[in-house]
């Protein structure tokens, strides 16, 4: 995995709760396309009108916000399916960080497997940030924010930094670009020993010939 330490750039407000993985990437797109091509279809129901043309009211279609690396959204972002394609699709359209009050658990895991930074702030902090960004949008003035993994802070022009929680293992993996399979394989002896014990104590788990 690539290293991630800081992300800086325009933040796009998407003040919706429960943005689900079906909205982030449709099933037939992930079934048909290689992961590198999913970005063109990310957030399609919001981004395109029913006739297939771009929705001019959608923030990431607007000059100043197109290609923004930071998305700020409502609670339960990425709820729904386990499709990792949702992460690949967002990354494919240039998103490097999503800030929200909460995330779907599986989506959040998938983010960290790919170096997409899922930043959880309190509902109140997200509302302040969204209000600030929306106000800038009314004036056609995009605002830049900066997220620092090492210090676990979000810097924004509207007030003091926000800090966000991040498990130490996740932070280390981001900063060092660690590969989880590689790390786990350093515990191969423990895995082998666990399996050997388990074969004796729970033979029914291992006796899977069937009838």
């Amino acid at each position: 995995m690539k290293k991630v330490s800081t992300i800086s750039g325009v933040a796009a407000p998407l003040p919706l709760a429960n943005v689900d993985t079906d909205v982030i990437i449709r099933i037939e797109k992930l079934a048909q396309l290689p992961r590198e091509q999913l970005g063109a279809w990310a957030l399609a129901p919001l981004r395109f009108l029913p006739d297939g043309s771009e929705n001019p009211a959608f923030v990431l279609n607007q000059p100043g916000w197109r290609g923004a690396p930071v998305l700020v959204s409502g609670a339960n972002f990425g709820c729904g399916s386990s499709r990792e394609h949702a992460v690949w699709a967002l990354q494919g359209m240039g998103i490097e960080c999503v800030i929200a009050p909460s995330f779907g658990d599986i989506f959040r895991s998938n983010c960290f497997q790919n170096g997409l930074l899922a930043v959880q702030l309190s509902e109140a902090d997200v509302q302040r940030l969204l209000a600030f960004l929306e106000e800038g949008r009314q004036r056609s003035q995009p605002a830049r924010v900066s997220i620092d993994v090492a210090t676990q802070t979000v810097r924004w022009p509207g007030g003091p930094d926000f800090s966000f929680p991040l498990e130490a293992r996740r932070r280390a993996a981001l900063l060092q670009g660690l590969d989880e399979i590689g790390v786990t394989q350093t515990f191969q002896a423990q895995i082998d020993a666990w399996q050997a014990r388990d074969r004796a104590s729970r033979p029914w788990i291992w006796d899977v010939e069937g009838v």
Binding site: E28, P45, S82, S102, I106, T184, I205
Partner: protein, 480 residues
């Protein structure tokens, strides 16, 4: 089980979740996360092929292919005479699953063969999912398997590769929630109604970060199909894992299944499984109580599973919402669904009915709904499908004559797979069409772009198919 498991059992009272978690710890990282052993890894046609490719590219072997099982379910056609590879993209994905499984020594349950079906139907049905086992699959509805007293959750493609290569998963220990369902079930109320009402009451994100145990007298009396339905939808309240303590209902249901233990092993296994209960004084991080007597048959009106109401209720009015954000969310959902603020949901005309999915496609579901179908006809303007959850369900249902009950009433009897729950096989609801569906998600576009989905139980779905619109109550015969 490991020695530290036995030691911990003496030390402190534990929840069912704690017992399942502790018994699978290979390495405790000491920061609230652990490396856990995976006893059963189920692989399907959408998640498997890209993970196999990743492994191939990195030159990694599969550590324990004997604990890995595969089946194509998402992209297969459900046409009665299908081969499975009808659709443009299905052929490559199914071929990728077959090739990867063959090459890696993984047992594949192939299309039209015994054992084939939706992963979350076949795992329990074949006796692959066992009490006390840790089950993973690249699908969010893996929470289903917790109904047998297993610990089970959905993972992404990278994690699938990790499990294939190491037979383990790195996981942060979730908090523990117990939802106790007490009281008496009202007539016509099914497991689906219970879980929809619970999600509506607690919210679609209420379970985020939690493993949820469903408990209490109502759960203890539910059959396995009902328990599987409830745990299936734990993820719709945000909980990656849902679980129910195994008991005699579980053991009786499991005994004799194709991969279940036999002979002396069966007795040893059951003896160990009886310990898989929450100790009386164990503590949860959150406790919720639901009185079943307050729950009536449900239908969803909006675009989140939390948008659920009783059949005789009205859809919400944004004007009465507690805050601006909720008002906007309600207004957007109503607009997408083509409904007016405050209208009665009953009487809304429908175009499609889908009985199927990992939530409600088991033999018990199909029997229960068939009883309400007998002697009736699907409304002429409604296209209604029944998609059994597995090849074994399909064959058993046909032996009982359920297929004839459905087809004589005008339902289409189809072949097993995920089908119109998710439309990965191009079986979709057309834009603007309204579908009453026994599946689990009513998200925008879930059943096809512009499709309007109303989630309900199988009994409610057949009542709507016959009436041609969303019913305000169940006919007397279906609540007997």
């Amino acid at each position: 089980m490991s020695s530290n498991h036995a030691g911990a059992a003496r030390a402190a009272p534990r929840t069912l979740f704690d017992k399942l978690w502790d018994s699978h710890v290979v390495v405790d990282f000491g920061d609230g996360s652990a490396l856990l052993h995976v006893d059963r890894h189920l692989v399907h046609d959408l998640g498997g092929p890209p993970a196999f490719s990743d492994l191939e590219r990195r030159g990694l072997p599969v550590l324990s292919p004997e604990l890995t099982f595969s089946t194509p379910d998402h992209v297969v056609s459900s046409a009665p005479d299908r081969t499975g590879s009808e659709h443009r993209w299905a052929e490559g994905l199914i071929a990728g699953l077959r090739e990867g499984s063959r090459k890696r020594g993984i047992r594949l349950f192939d299309v039209n063969q015994p054992g084939h079906g939706i992963v979350h139907v076949i795992g329990p049905e074949l006796g692959l999912t066992l009490p006390g086992s840790l089950v993973l699959c690249g699908d969010s509805h893996t929470s289903t398997h917790g109904a047998l007293g297993a610990i089970a959750w959905g993972i992404g493609t990278t994690e699938i590769g990790h499990v294939l290569a190491t037979q383990t998963i790195v996981q942060k220990r979730p908090r523990r929630m117990r939802i106790t369902i007490a009281g008496e079930l009202r007539p016509g109320v099914e497991a689906k109604d219970l879980i929809l009402a619970i999600i509506a009451r607690l919210g679609a994100a209420s379970g985020t970060g939690y493993a949820v145990e469903f408990a209490g007298p109502v759960v203890e009396q539910l059959d396995m199909a009902g328990r599987l339905t409830i745990c299936n939808m734990a993820i719709e309240m945000g909980a990656r894992m849902g679980m129910i303590a195994p008991d005699d209902i579980t053991f009786d249901w499991l005994k004799g299944r194709r991969f279940a233990p036999r002979g002396i092993q069966w007795h040893e296994a059951v003896a160990s499984w009886r310990e898989l209960v929450t100790d009386p004084s164990a503590r949860f991080d959150r406790e919720e109580r639901i009185d079943a007597a307050t729950i009536a048959p449900q239908i969803t009106w909006g675009t989140s599973p939390e948008h659920s109401i009783a059949l005789d209720q009205r859809v919400p009015d944004p004007a009465s919402a507690p805050n601006a954000a909720t008002a906007t969310a309600i207004a957007q959902a109503l607009e997408y669904m083509g409904l007016q603020a405050g209208q009665a949901i009953a009487g809304t005309p429908i175009d499609r009915v889908f009985i199927g999915s990992c939530t409600n496609s088991r033999l018990e579901d199909l029997r229960c709904a068939a009883a309400a179908v007998r002697g009736k006809k699907v409304a002429p303007h409604v296209t209604a499908w029944v998609v059994p959850g597995s090849e074994d369900v399909r064959r058993a249902a046909e032996r009982e004559g359920l297929d004839r009950i459905y087809t004589e009433a005008g339902f289409h009897w189809r072949s097993p797979g995920c089908s119109m729950c998710v439309g990965a096989n191009e079986e979709r609801v057309a834009p603007g069409q309204r579908c009453v569906s026994t599946s689990n998600r009513n998200f925008v576009g879930r059943q096809g772009p512009g499709a309007r989905t109303h989630l309900a139980s199988p009994v409610v779905a057949v009542a709507c198919a016959i009436a041609g619109h969303i019913v305000g109550e169940l006919p007397a015969r279906s609540v007997a």
